[in-house]
């Protein structure tokens, strides 16, 4: 579903992503891990089509993100880390606008709108101005936007950051449920979350892929019991 080959991105002289290659099959929930500044957000932005890679290719469902951008982007639901929204719009107004932007037919947009409002627990705040919502609710609006067009691939950059424990739990549950119908690439720092929701893991360190595979594979390959130990071992932070 997602195929990344020799992806490289230089910000000026600084290599943010160096020769990264991985493959995500349909229906997998992939945890994208790495310390800060490892290149996770950059890779996700390249996949989402926000920035272009310096070299290498990335394809979503066979569509190259650079050569066939519209087709590639229409297969993705993207939620960036900062979850930017138009604060002067209302929730359902914003979602309708995003539906239009994604070229959804009006009746389909309406039915999906009801569905995502339900799924992301936004029914109570549908008429509220986004500027008046708390961070957790805004995150949910972002997630609802990502789900709106029912894309086969979801790219979520730190979807549970800033949420309270109850919301975190609910979001994780939602992600696990969504994993049945969508391919999900989610990045996070919270390792227990990866162990709970994801079935595959990709660990990025200093712009290169340091570990890759299913949870068990990664754990056994490095001889550790938990993902945290693997993380610490690979990123080389010693007590």
């Amino acid at each position: 579903m997602i195929q990344v080959k020799n992806l490289t991105k230089y910000y000026g002289d600084y290599p943010a992503v160096r020769d990264v290659s991985f493959k995500v099959e349909k229906g997998q929930i992939v945890g994208f891990l790495g310390p800060n500044g490892a290149g996770k957000s950059t890779t996700m932005r390249i996949l989402a089509g926000y920035i272009t890679a310096t070299s290498g290719t990335a394809t979503i469902d066979g569509r190259d993100v650079f050569w066939d951008p519209i087709e590639a982007r229409s297969r993705i639901g993207y939620l960036p880390e900062s979850c930017p929204l138009y604060t002067e719009m209302r929730v359902e107004e914003y979602l309708r606008f995003r539906g239009g932007l994604k070229n959804m037919a009006v009746h389909l947009c309406e039915s999906r709108l009801e569905y995502v409002l339900e799924r992301c627990w936004l029914k109570d705040v549908r008429r509220q101005l986004i500027g008046t919502l708390s961070k957790g609710y805004r995150q949910r609006v972002g997630l609802a936007d990502a789900l709106l067009a029912n894309p086969p691939v979801l790219i979520l950059d730190e979807p549970t950051v800033g949420l309270d424990p109850v919301q975190i739990r609910e979001t994780r549950k939602l992600i696990k449920e969504l994993g049945n119908q969508h391919t999900i690439l989610l990045s996070t720092h919270i390792l227990p979350e990866v162990e709970m929701t994801c079935n595959t893991v990709i660990l990025i360190h200093q712009g290169v892929v340091a570990a890759q595979g299913s949870l068990d594979e990664v754990r056994s390959a490095h001889g550790c019991n938990s993902l945290e130990e693997v993380f610490v071992k690979i990123t080389g932070i010693t007590e």
């Binding site: 920035i51 519209i70 993207y78 960036p80 002067e88 239009g100 070229n103």
Partner: protein, 248 residues
């Protein structure tokens, strides 16, 4: 088509959700209202003064152009600068919509608002006719000129907005760049009208276009061409500027 329409609708409504739009609307209508009052006085007072081309008093006036100078920067400053500042540009550029569609939508939205700015002035027309007929053709050419010149200034503002992150900087820079087109008309040294320098200045100076030609009923293709080509040029630059953002 639907993405473009959706974006136009959202950008146009967004104007009415911010106070800047209402302030611009109020000030603009105040100034044109005052100028209309002056024109009416000239048309209706007894005595030899009078005015041959009423639209000239309305649109050829320096006061009008100095106020007008501020309007396109204020209307266009938020279009891209705010999106970059708040990060929502990322959401726009990761949607399945072409860059040129984004630029065209924003331009059409601000142009529609610009039309909304001018539409209330249409009410002056029946009032003027009520006082005795005035020649309708100069009115028509004046409005046409204003709509075309507006497109040029708005495209310029849009381009500047796509380059910077701060709305204030976008407004100021597009103000300064618009000066090139407006102030050239105010600087009136005793230039020989047949000299090359004067001709060049006249070509770019928008108020002089209005003073001499549009308000007198003359539809000069060179000016129309200037406005249209500059509009297309700035829109092209804006699309490129947006594209270049992906390569950073």
């Amino acid at each position: 088509m639907r993405p473009t329409l959706s974006l136009i609708k959202r950008e146009f409504t967004a104007y009415f959700l911010s106070p800047i739009a209402y302030v611009v609307l109020a000030v603009f209508l105040l100034v044109t209202g005052h100028l209309f009052y002056l024109t009416l006085n000239l048309l209706t007072e007894s005595g030899p003064r009078g005015i041959e081309y009423p639209m000239q008093a309305l649109l050829g006036d320096e006061k009008f152009w100095l106020v007008y100078l501020f309007i396109p920067p204020l209307l266009t400053m938020r279009l891209f600068a705010e999106e970059r500042g708040s990060g929502t540009l990322e959401m726009l550029m990761t949607a399945p919509i072409h860059d040129w569609q984004v630029v065209i939508s924003k331009f059409i939205a601000c142009y529609l608002f610009y039309l909304v700015l001018w539409i209330p002035t249409i009410v002056y027309w029946p009032v003027l006719m009520g006082f005795g007929a005035i020649d309708p053709w100069p009115v028509f050419t004046s409005y046409l000129g204003v709509f075309l010149a507006g497109a040029m200034f708005l495209a310029l503002g849009l381009f500047v907005s796509s380059l910077v992150r701060s709305q204030m900087v976008a407004a100021l820079v597009s103000l300064i760049l618009s000066l090139f087109f407006i102030v050239a008309g105010f600087w009136r040294p005793e230039l020989d009208p047949s000299s090359l320098v004067y001709q060049i200045i006249y070509y770019v100076s928008v108020p002089m276009h209005f003073n001499r030609e549009f308000t007198r009923g003359i539809l000069s293709t060179s000016h129309v061409l200037l406005y249209l080509s500059m509009t297309v040029f700035f829109l092209f630059l804006t699309v490129r500027s947006l594209e270049s953002r992906r390569w950073k």
